[in-house]
Amino acid sequence: MTANSAVVSPSTAIPYKPRKRWGEIIAPYLFISPFLISFILLFLGPAVYSLVLSFFRFAGYGEATFVGVQNYEKTLYYHVFWTQMRNVVQYWVGHAIPLVVLAFLMAVLVNARSVKNKNLVKPLLFLPQLVAAVAAALLFKNFFGTNYGLLNTILGQQIPWLENMDIARWVVIIVIVWRGMAYWFVIFQAGLTSINTEVTEAAIVDGANALQRLIFITIPLMRRTFLFFFVMDAIGSIRIFETPNVLGSNMGGLAPLQMAPVLNLVIDNIRNALFGQAAATSWLLFIFIAFISWMQFRLFRD
């Protein structure tokens, strides 16, 4: 028996393995190489270069001096950074809740069975997303103008919407909500249509009314979409740039400090050839983004 089994032992049996032709082996690498090479040259390389730069003082020419974590320290002790951070937090906290409530409400309304012309309503509500962020900011800058703006004309007042920084930050939030609603409504609506109708029908049979169904069935089932919203929106908020800068400045400059988002510090440092400082600030932003996403994944974990 032992001798017999040794003969057919798998180690001695040569498995049939078709030899791949050379072209078969090389083809996938040829297909991915254009993407990979551009990715390394235009994203990974510059990102790593920025990471290295963040430990140096470098003005774009001459010698770069190693300064350790000084650039990070400088940014973290710089009052401008914290003012801009506070602005961004206000933009985020101020817009996230109204945005998710309004966009979800829109989605629920459009999805209602009694709405017959969904194919007409949906594109109409999406249109603000076609207006570029810059154009939307300009449009509302005109809208909220102090002396000639549409709103002050209707109200018959001279409210300094954009001159008073405490009000102006809320105008930024309004513009973000206006444009964001169109986008997130479409996503929530798609989420709603992908919900299994059997669960909802079972609830109808059990006698749940529309509001109960919304709160106890639809919203819990939409968890993943809401998580997606909060993560993407938080990341997007840290990277806010166009809206406050176009609303807050004249002639395409950067917004005044009391309105400026944190990205302005990166841009400012690059313009002033403080590349190490700019790199450190941008990597700090990454750390914030990573931290926020990690927090939210923990919070929403099943």
Partner: protein, 294 residues
């Protein structure tokens, strides 16, 4: 919002049911109307104001123009030697970038979806890992590199950083995974080589996702502002988005020329609107793609 016929409500009198049903439908339509007005009225003011003279805009900012004028649109062509150049810059940058991006992503997605090769999962995992890294961290490094190449104030400095997109690669790969291998084998038996399989089988079958991604990417590049403000400081190479906030009254200076700005906003939205009306379905699916898992 009781839009669905409630089993209990059928027990109540017919007229009461009809009344509540009518009320809920009315309320839904009323709320929708408010949302539509909120969405469209600002866009309408943009359109109306672009047909007013600056003087009339100050007196009559709310309603239709009393005197319709095309002055603002004419000003776009005269402004600083022709702002139409900036529209062309935007178009060149967005079209070139979209073309490159779709081709690069589709080729790589094909390999990741339909070939087994050494390092496939490792490379793919590494690529996905970088999705968390915002493009802002590349800015200082890219700026220095482009400055050394003397590429500041060129169009390629605006195009190149946008051509790779890991999320695009991921979207297209997910779609290509669903395409049956038998289709590829059939083409191979017929004697198609690797590139022919890609071009004659993969591209046509994954056209919906390629179109959706192309639209999404085009929109992103057309609307880009942050990076172009850094690398395009000369009027001749600036895209329209960078120019729009800078438009001032040519005579007085320092005062925004609102009529011209509004006309510019309308013209910068128009191409997107046309694409949207033509490809509504791909457009809306490009928004939800990747966001909602069926």
């Amino acid at each position: 919002m009781a839009t669905i016929i409630h089993p209990k409500s059928q027990l109540k009198s017919q007229s009461w049911y009809r009344f509540t049903h009518f009320l809920s439908v009315f309320m839904i339509y009323f709320a929708l109307l408010i949302f539509i007005i909120l969405a469209l009225y600002p866009m309408l003011t943009m359109l109306m104001n672009s047909f007013k003279s600056d003087n009339e805009m100050y007196r009559n900012p709310v309603a239709l123009p009393i005197v319709w004028t095309l002055k603002s649109y004419a000003a776009i062509f005269e402004y600083h030697g022709g702002m139409w150049l900036n529209f062309i810059n935007s178009a060149i940058v967005a079209v070139t970038s979209t073309l490159f991006s779709v081709i690069l992503c589709a080729l790589a997605a094909f390999a990741f979806a339909k070939y087994r090769f050494k390092g496939r999962s490792l490379i793919f995992a590494l690529l996905l890992g970088t999705m968390m890294v915002p493009s802002e961290v590349t800015m200082p490094g890219l700026f220095i590199a482009f400055a050394q190449l003397k590429w500041i104030n060129t169009l390629q400095a605006q195009i190149l950083p946008t051509i790779t997109s890991v999320s695009g690669l991921f979207l297209i790969r997910q779609y290509m995974l669903e395409i049956p291998d038998a289709l590829l084998d059939a083409a191979r038996i017929d004697g198609a080589n690797h590139l022919q399989v890609f071009w004659y089988v993969m591209v046509p079958t994954s056209a919906p996702v390629l179109g959706a991604y192309a639209i999404l990417h085009f929109l992103g590049v057309w609307n880009a502002y942050t990076w172009p403000t850094l690398v395009a400081t000369k009027r001749a190479v600036q895209p329209i988005m960078v120019v729009l906030p800078q438009i001032v009254d040519p005579v007085i200076g320092f005062v925004p020329a609102w009529g011209t700005i509004m006309a510019g906003c309308v013209l910068s939205t128009l191409p997107l609107l046309i694409v949207f009306l033509a490809f509504q379905e791909q457009f809306l699916s490009s928004v939800t793609i990747g966001a909602v898992k069926e």
